[in-house]
């Protein structure tokens, strides 16, 4: 395998792609949204259980996609559980900036979380794959806003 391919498909991605965490339904979710990437037909649903204090108590996803989109959804659920909705929104913006080659805005606030997500930064060199990596996050943002449908087009 060549180096640029290894940048894209890092071991963590292959692992999360094969064994996604939190791929399940949350029966008593109080937010959810359905996301779709019309280009490849990938579909994904994000479920959220948010407490009265605005803290995300549980987050999960369902759906099947490529290794990149599955790994991204899986990693997302790991980093946003325990965050408030506002923090999750900020993380989304940071992640989006990273995936599209920009700079994170929130400084050091989420250093650990962003560190965990940098395995996905390789997509910035593959324009068509950026949407794979950001689908789960767009869907999360829609779920928070109670927009039940989102597409990455």
């Amino acid at each position: 395998m060549s180096d640029d391919l290894r940048d894209l498909y890092q071991e963590v991605i292959l692992d999360h792609g094969r064994h996604p965490r939190n791929r399940r339904m949350i029966e008593d979710a109080n937010h959810f949204a359905h996301g779709e990437n019309p280009l490849c037909g990938d579909q994904l649903t994000v479920f959220l259980k948010v407490g009265p204090d605005g803290v995300i108590k549980d987050v999960s996803f369902e759906g099947r996609g490529c290794a990149i989109s599955t790994a991204s959804a899986s990693l997302m659920t790991e980093v946003i559980v325990g965050k408030t909705e506002a923090e999750a929104q900020k993380l989304f913006e940071d992640f989006h900036a990273m995936a599209t080659g920009g700079e994170a805005h929130s400084g050091d606030e989420f250093e650990d979380e962003i560190d965990r997500l940098t395995v996905l930064a390789g997509v910035r060199d593959y324009p068509v794959r950026v949407k794979c990596a950001t689908l789960a996050w767009h869907t999360l943002a829609a779920a928070i806003k109670d927009e039940q449908k989102v597409t990455t087009e």
Binding site: L5, Y9, C40, G41, C66, R129
Partner: protein, 416 residues
Amino acid sequence: MIITRTEADTVAGIESARADFPILSRPVRGRPLVYLDSGASAQKPQVVIDAESTVYSTQYANIHRGLYYLSERATEAYEAARRTVQRFLNAKHAHEIIFTRNTTEAINLVAASYGRKFLEPGDEIVLTGFEHHSNIVPWQLLREERGVVIKVAPVSDNGEVPLEAITGLFGPRTRLVSVAHMSNVLGTILPVAEIVRAAHAVGARVLVDGAQAVSHLPVDVQALDVDFYAFSGHKIYGPSGIGALYGREDLLNAMPPYQGGGDMIATVRFEKSTWAPLPHKFEAGPPAIAQGPALAAALDYVSGIGMARIARHEADLLEYATRQLSAVEGVHIVGTAPEKGAVISFVIDDVHPHDIAQILDNAGVAIRAGHHCAQPLMQRFDLPATARASFGLYNNRADVDALVAAVRKVKEMFGA
């Protein structure tokens, strides 16, 4: 770069054709290009590139308008291209060939012009379950406007649509059958002549979407007795931006214009205008002036090799590729109809087609992954997408070997 082959691997005379395509000697990601996406768009031989460039460098002007030398030359070249398409499809008359932008526009032309004029609410249009979106959506637009009914012949598990699945839908309201000659996903080739015979017997017209078929097999619209036949230049080694619709003279004459503008009129008065005769009635506005002669060059090129010989060469490749890919554990071919053109859709257990295509790209192997503009078909097989290798006259067994080697690498990487 010419990849070496053994004599036995090739149909005589076709092996040198690869050298006619300059792009195939271009390295991609540091490796020789293995181009297996001709079903999406085919590469161009030098004669096509030269033909387009010659128009610009020696005889370019607007056509059908100027009363001067260059315009006459450009017009003549464009009309000569129409005669080349006529010969290629064996149409009876050159004016039965309408130039369009592509297959998509040709189908939309029939839906908008023939459909609006001749189809009534409740009239039925028969499609198959493997149609490309361009042979689905125009009919849905017509359904919204005219209340026509769309019936869909189901696809069997191996990717066939048996004749009876189509004729079984025929009834007193069947007015039009619109089907792909060859599926761009499954490769399935339909028995068009039989479909036409059955359709005509119930008084229905037949439009055939030849986008895939024309580059893989000989097509004779009179022998098939089709009413309409559509194809695109870019999939048959010709330029993008030009395609053609064949329509039977009597039908085209009875149909209203598709778009209005210059070139398609006889006289224009504010009270009433009259239309130009065929084919110009359907060609409003300036056409793809330089692409006409380039399309003719492409058709002359494949005719020079011989469509039957191309078909034999590709049948050999398809057989070889099917055998090699099937031998890889976990690989499943989608579409195994006995009558099949050189397209292989496949999936690999536990690996998404996008990841397959990405890793193949890294090995210099260009294939397509996705729904191939056939979402209803993906649903039918309960797949989000497939990977698809599609072959052209320039491909050879070495390309197949590169494909299979890269597929093995995918499996290795994903532990599939």
